[in-house]
Symmetry: C2
Subunit: 155 residues, 2 copies
DNA sequence: TTAAATTAGTTGAATTTCGTACTTCTAGGT
DNA sequence: ACCTAGAAGTACGAAATTCAACTAATTTAA
């Protein structure tokens, strides 16, 4: 027998859905309109910018961004075409390859980051008290941990 | 000058992203595999099921789901083909039309709901304490309220 | 009361995105 | 040398999404 959600649980769950949906929608629109980037693009730029040599192995990047390998491959291909990234061979393991941030990619990130961060603040961080935000994030961290085994690749 | 996120804020924000992403991916896979429905389908079924006459104006439904009119029209078209929905003319405003839940649509929802709710419990509600979940939801409610003015057709 | 403007919704490409399955190349063990 | 597994790219196709143009009904206002 299914144990249904109580009205209260339902309210909280729906709040989670709508909060994320609205926020994501807004942040995406901001990046798209002002910088021609999607959130997925942006996240990849950020990840790469944080690593040494601004490069990451494809599989690492896929894991970090919660994307399937195929999806990431396509995504990186697009960003390569756009000049934001380049691929480089990996000399230690020559099956592998790196996605590397180009100068243009770095510039794009530098340009877009203020927009994005401002949006995150305005629409999320600043509408909550410090402790509310912390409670939100901590709960999410638990949820993430509990779901970490979920594979995003087919079967 | 942009006020950047502190490492702690960044951690919390990323936890929010990953919690949502993993959860959504899992719930979507469950519905897809077991019932051939996407989350978008499911959401529409739920919305309609909760209204009087199990019907909603297209534009209302579009707004509720943050979809453009065109997108919703296609989506409803697909679901109509699948037999889940029907369209009906609106007699008060004859430009308008309703999306109406069919019996088959209702049955599909009845069949899928246990899967979905079980997933929500297993991957979200039950991995948190009651108060953690409440804190998460309450924070999200504030975020939602703060972002409610967001519209697709904006501008 | 009629013409213009607005609103609701649909449609058919074109485009974007993504998954599946397959291929290639390499690493590591036996 | 051989066999298995891993990393990644790609071709193909299915599906979703956008975009622009379109019909038709309604509202506004001259």
């Amino acid at each position: 027998m299914t144990k249904w959600l109580s009205p209260d649980e339902q309210r909280l769950w729906r709040a989670f859905i709508s909060a994320w949906t609205l926020l994501n929608h807004q942040l995406n629109a901001d990046l798209q309109i002002q910088h021609g980037l999607t959130i997925a693009d942006y996240e990849i730029l950020v990840r790469l910018s944080e690593t040494e040599g601004r490069r990451m192995r494809m599989s690492e990047l896929a894991e970090a961004t919660l994307a399937s390998r195929s999806r990431l491959s396509h995504q990186v291909g697009r960003m390569e075409t756009a000049g934001l990234l380049a691929r480089e061979e990996c000399t230690e393991d020559r099956r592998g390859s790196f996605a590397v941030l180009t100068d243009a990619g770095w510039q794009a990130l530098v340009a877009a980051a203020p927009t994005h961060v401002t949006g995150v603040r305005a629409n999320l961080v600043d509408v909550l008290t410090k402790s509310e935000f912390k409670a939100l994030g901590d709960a999410c961290q638990k949820v993430t941990a509990a779901n970490e085994q979920i594979s995003l690749y087919g079967a």
